[in-house]
């Protein structure tokens, strides 16, 4: 099983909706491929065989009940949690060592809890990657970029010199978002980007994520519970249930999924709710 390598990582962005065939679950040459991933903690088995392929330039949204392992899945992909078994490939090669370094160099992530560095100011957080590493920028330049990113998530320049602890929860979330897109990454993970935001801000963020994918050609994986976000952001939706991908398909076919969990999720568990 050696999937064809997806070449030309820095080629022109492809604004079309990825994965034309609705049910491109396992086969295909995804940018990131996850094969039968298992992850357990001391007390519980969380993931029991996740198969998922993420195409280049697509916006994939992962939904699932609270505690179903969405965040854990992202951590396994990033190597922040060690899976028991399974394979994770990036451009056809295992996401480890050199390949992982290469992956992380063009990667950004919004953590569910923000994970802002509380010893650094807001702009230093956003510009973290710009101030260090290979393509280091001068301080003033990095600061200007950081302030531009803050504007994009709806924050004014006056928060730039504050510390994360001095911000509201929703502001912290948006700073986390600004940091995730700080160095214009090619692959971005958003863990609940709109949770804790008012509807207006949430719409700004939804539009931002969609822009980043459609205009800059980035690949985005978003976790959300907010079905209006799903409709605004997603090309494709995957639902985790019982530790596997219970359903996945283009966002348009979400309403006709025929999958009981997905239906329960869509109408808030009002009909056909299967509580176990």
């Amino acid at each position: 099983m050696t999937p064809a390598v997806n070449t030309a990582q820095n080629g022109p962005p492809s604004p079309q909706v990825a994965s034309g065939s609705g049910r491109a679950l396992i086969e295909g040459a995804g940018l990131i491929e996850i094969e039968s991933l298992h992850k357990a903690f001391d007390r519980e088995v969380v993931l029991r065989g996740i198969d998922l392929s993420i195409d280049r330039g697509e916006s994939l949204v992962i939904v699932g009940q609270s505690g179903s392992g969405k965040s854990v899945l992202l951590k396994c992909i990033l190597g922040l949690a060690k899976p028991e078994s399974g394979r994770i490939l990036f451009r056809g090669r295992p996401l480890q060592g050199e390949n992982r370094t290469e992956f992380l160099d063009q990667f950004g992530m919004l953590f569910q809890g923000g994970a802002l560095f509380d010893s650094l100011t807001v702009w230093q957080n956003v510009a973290f990657r710009l101030l260090r590493g290979k393509n280091r920028k001068r301080g003033s330049e990095a600061r200007a970029i950081a302030i531009e990113k803050l504007h994009r998530v709806g924050l004014e320049a006056d928060v730039a010199d504050r510390y994360p602890a001095e911000l509201s929860g929703g502001m912290q979330k948006r700073v986390g978002l600004a940091r995730a897109i700080g160095a214009d990454p090619a692959v971005i993970f958003f863990d609940e980007p709109t949770t804790g935001l008012d509807p207006v801000r949430a719409n700004v963020i939804n539009a931002l994520i969609r822009d980043i994918v459609d205009e800059l050609g980035a690949t985005a994986v978003t976790i959300t519970h907010d079905m209006s976000s799903v409709r605004a952001i997603a090309h494709r939706v995957a639902m985790i249930h019982d530790g596997i991908i219970g359903w996945s398909g283009p966002v348009d076919s979400m309403d006709q999924s025929g999958n009981p969990q997905m239906e329960a999720f869509l109408n808030g568990g009002l009909s056909a709710a299967r509580t176990d």
């Binding site: 951590k75 990033l78 190597g79 922040l80 370094t101 992380l104 160099d105 990667f107 950004g108 992530m109 953590f111 809890g113 923000g114 994970a115 802002l116 560095f117 509380d118 010893s119 973290f128 990657r129 260090r132 590493g133």
Partner: protein, 285 residues
Amino acid sequence: MGQRAPIPAGPVASTKASLVSMRGPLGIGFLLAAIGRSTLAAIRSIGRISIFAVIAVSHVLRPPFFFRELSQQLLAIGFLSLPVVGLTALFTGGALALQIYAGGARFNAESVVPALVAIGIVRELGPVIGGLMVAGRVSASIAAEIGTMRVTEQIDALETLSTDPIKYLVVPRLLAGVITMPCLTFIGDTVGILGGFLVGTQRLGFNAAAYIQNTWNFLEVDDVTSSLVKAAVFGFIIAIMGCYHGHRSERGAKGVGRAATNAVVTASVLIFTANYLLTETFFSA
């Protein structure tokens, strides 16, 4: 549980065994198993700490270097510890002068006060008390800081931003510990001797010039070297224990609190242990 239980022997064994027998028919076997388990756990954590220390040291010379973080840590670990180290050294020196005077009087040898205060402070009390004070202040705060970063996923975030947490967090603290502790100890030694001097001249009637002369003549370079080497080792222990326990911190505020406590306790015990071993190597020859 019964980890401290002594090895049962003779008639005592029967009462011990009956206490234990509730858990199984083989009381003594259970005890031995418990002792074995805790011994294995201790060996495991020694192994883990050693591995962590080796990894940390191996990162010291490899780029990238985070100079800004290093200078912040030099300030936090070194400069801000000065008052604590200075005050404890001052009072220790003063008390030592009184004790040696009282002891020396029994042999009509009060004149040894300057020499013995200097020896006691420089060789032993300066580095050890300074080390313990800094361990209390710095190990705990390093462990709490890194522990908080671990449980709030800031360390995960560092990795996703292509920054090695060992290089960014551990190496600057380690270097700062090893660099600042000798400086702090040198100052502590001086202040401690000053404490002895003040008590000696103000309370015990020593002549100031003679006291200084006496101290200066008596101290050897080796005494000072051993003091500084001890201090550097203690600085390493303090920083590595803070980082290690912070890095392994469990989730939640409780986990972070436990990490801070463990860091101080293990750092203190290791400082005493290392002090003895270093004293053996320096002065047994």
